[in-house]
Amino acid sequence: MRDFAAPHTRMPTANFTGSQEALFSPVQVRALMAAEFERARRYGEPLAGLLIGVDRLGQLTDFYGYEAKSEILEAIAELMNENLRAGDFLGCRIEDSLLLILPYTGRDGARALARRILSGARALVFEGGGRTLRISVSISAAYSDNPSSNHFSGLLEVTGNGLRAATEDGGDRFIEWKPVESDFDRLRRDLEDRIQSLRSDLPGGAPRETANMQDIAPAPLAAAAPVPPAAEEVPVAEAESSASLELSLSAKLRSLLDAQAAEGQEDSAALQGKIQELLTQHNRQIDVLERRISKLTRNLELTEDELKRMSLLKDVDVGVASIYRDVQGLNADAESAEAKKHMMANIFEANMELQTQINERARKD
């Protein structure tokens, strides 16, 4: 059994266990992470976040007990210490996963580290109750220059979603999760696959990627494609109209590919160029559509507001005219006018003060 006690002296900016002896508490580490993230964003430096989860940790815990769980998590934390220098990262635990923030680290660095942690985890051996236990981990990454993770909580969300997806896919893998995969994205991926297979069929064409961590390599077209809007921002109507656009796009693509097959030997770069052109055109169409829809939505909202207002007014008559105004204010010869005047001034001043307080608070908030 490995001894994972007291590794904290070597990782001053990580606290995976909530240990009191660590330099920073987990809460402080989180704050440092957020600050580091902000700094990276401000200066346009790369920053990567990795979320690491142990596959089937829940079952392992049920089976081997709570101590096994912390032992495993500590072993993973130790893996990171072995692969990184203490000052190069920030680390803390989020529920049962470990979060790493890697300043000055881009995609390449993150992928390399992920690969090392994946294989390191596979090599870990635990013993308990006379049995040997092996584990695997899933890792999800997000980057500060990615629009969907361009604030710290967004980054956390992306890594969280990615980790879930990686685990659901069977674990033991690394994922760079893309926030929303629209129909359009899926279509594009299908297309990429077709291009790939087409390419490998071509004499001298590139072989299909078969790497274990195929998710790591960015697809050639994905990099150039615009980031799809977040799912919740897409109104239903838009989804429908873009669906019909997708249809015409796929028809166009099919005829393009068919023509290609008929012609035979055109090189793949030219094909890719044509497809790219088609996609760009398509994107422009979608863009116009989107803008039109958002304008319509806004108009609709305004109309609805107005309708609501009208319906509220409907059962209200024009009102009853006030009978005062002319007789406003205290009559000088009214009974105890002086005393009343004094009282009115008091009430007014108290309210003036109240208003000042309200205004001040509003300014502060």
């Binding site: 006030s322 005062y324 009974e335 009115m344 003036m352 208003q355 307080q357």
Partner: protein
């Protein structure tokens, strides 16, 4: 609407923002009252059925099972007006909607400026006051708060050295008035109020007639119809179900005893407020006691309190205000009216 459009006239509104009832008196002669209850449909189905986004007063009470139901002024003050979680926000929103409703009830014309005086419970915290003003400002052109007992006293031209007894649902507020703003030492709050009486009546009936079936709502309605502390009245008979069958009961004593239970703590409180007042004016104060609030409508309560004061404090005079429901609102309207125009303008 711009001020230029509104130069024509001003509508003055007096509002009494109470725990169980919000009343409005306006300078156009409108007087309205609405229960201080606010409800929002629980779900889309309820919303479709109720055909409304928000319900108030009795209607809200009646439909409360399909509503998220609030008494935003419970305990006399805006609940949790400085908290920030969701339901607290909705309480705040409920208070705002209630105020808006009160102002709507006053039927302001579009071309009028609206100036409102709101009588707030004397014990309202600064937070509550701010919340009330903020809510009101969304609907009116200028707003002022004053303490509710002051409004009641001012409405009756009792400007100084007055003791106000305000019997509400949740609290009885005793307030010594000298000047416009009562201080903490001028106030005593008792919990033996309307709701307390309802419970006592229920207990008494349960003891005398264990077979009778009833709910607190029924008891409250009976109280509001028959409540009296007089000894020489006609017998009070009501029908209560026994195993589902309406049966007549004589509840005269049960009702009267429950109502009388309110008196000793009130007189004890009055005694304290008198004793800690300038000795020179103690006599005057004792003889200027105003009985207000929904609970003041219990018949003969004024003379019963007076009698008890004679016994315990060696004298006293209690005046029941004529309009229990509109006493605060009328007073607030009078203040709105007596307030010089320049003050209103400065606050708008």
């Amino acid at each position: 609407m711009s001020d230029a459009d509104k130069k024509e006239g001003v509508l003055y509104i007096g509002i009494d923002l109470g725990t169980s009832r919000t009343s409005v008196s306006a300078s156009n002669g409108v007087r309205e009252t609405v229960g201080s209850y606010v409800g929002y449909p629980k779900d889309v189905v309820s919303q479709k059925l109720l055909k409304k986004d928000v319900l108030f007063g009795d209607e809200a009470v009646e439909k409360r099972l399909s509503l998220r139901f609030y008494r935003p002024l419970e305990h006399g003050v805006l609940k949790n007006s400085n908290a920030d979680d969701k339901s607290d926000n909705e309480i705040q929103r409920a208070a705002e909607d209630l105020l808006k409703e009160a102002i709507r009830l006053a039927k302001p014309r579009k071309d009028e400026l609206v100036y409102a005086v709101i009588g707030a419970p004397a014990q309202a915290s600064i937070h509550n006051k701010e919340a009330i003003v903020r809510a009101a400002r969304q609907t009116v052109d200028s707003v002022m708060l004053c303490s509710e007992p002051f409004a009641v006293a001012y409405g009756l031209e009792m400007l100084d050295d007055v003791l106000v007894i305000d019997i509400g649902a949740g609290t009885v507020d005793l307030c010594r008035m000298h000047g416009t703003m009562p201080e903490d030492t001028d106030q005593i709050t008792l919990t033996s109020a309307g709701d307390f009486v309802d419970e006592r009546i229920s207990e008494n009936i349960r003891t005398s007639f264990p077979e009778a079936q009833f709910s607190v709502q029924m008891i409250k309605a009976i109280k509001e119809r028959h409540a009296t502390v007089a000894t020489d009245t006609e017998r009070i008979r009501v029908d209560l179900p026994v195993k589902g069958k309406p049966t007549s009961f004589d509840i005269t004593d049960e009702l009267r005893n429950a109502c009388r239970d309110m008196i000793p703590p009130i007189v004890e409180g009055l005694g304290k407020l008198v004793a800690t007042f300038d000795p020179e004016f103690q006599e005057r104060l004792k003889n200027r006691v105003l009985l207000a609030g929904g609970g003041s409508q219990i018949r003969e309560l004024d003379s019963a309190i007076e009698e008890y004061m004679h016994q315990e404090l060696g004298g006293g005079k209690v005046i029941r205000i004529e309009e229990a429901i509109y006493g605060g609102a009328n007073g607030a309207l009078k203040i709105a009216h007596d307030m010089p125009a320049e003050y209103w303008e400065k606050l708008s």
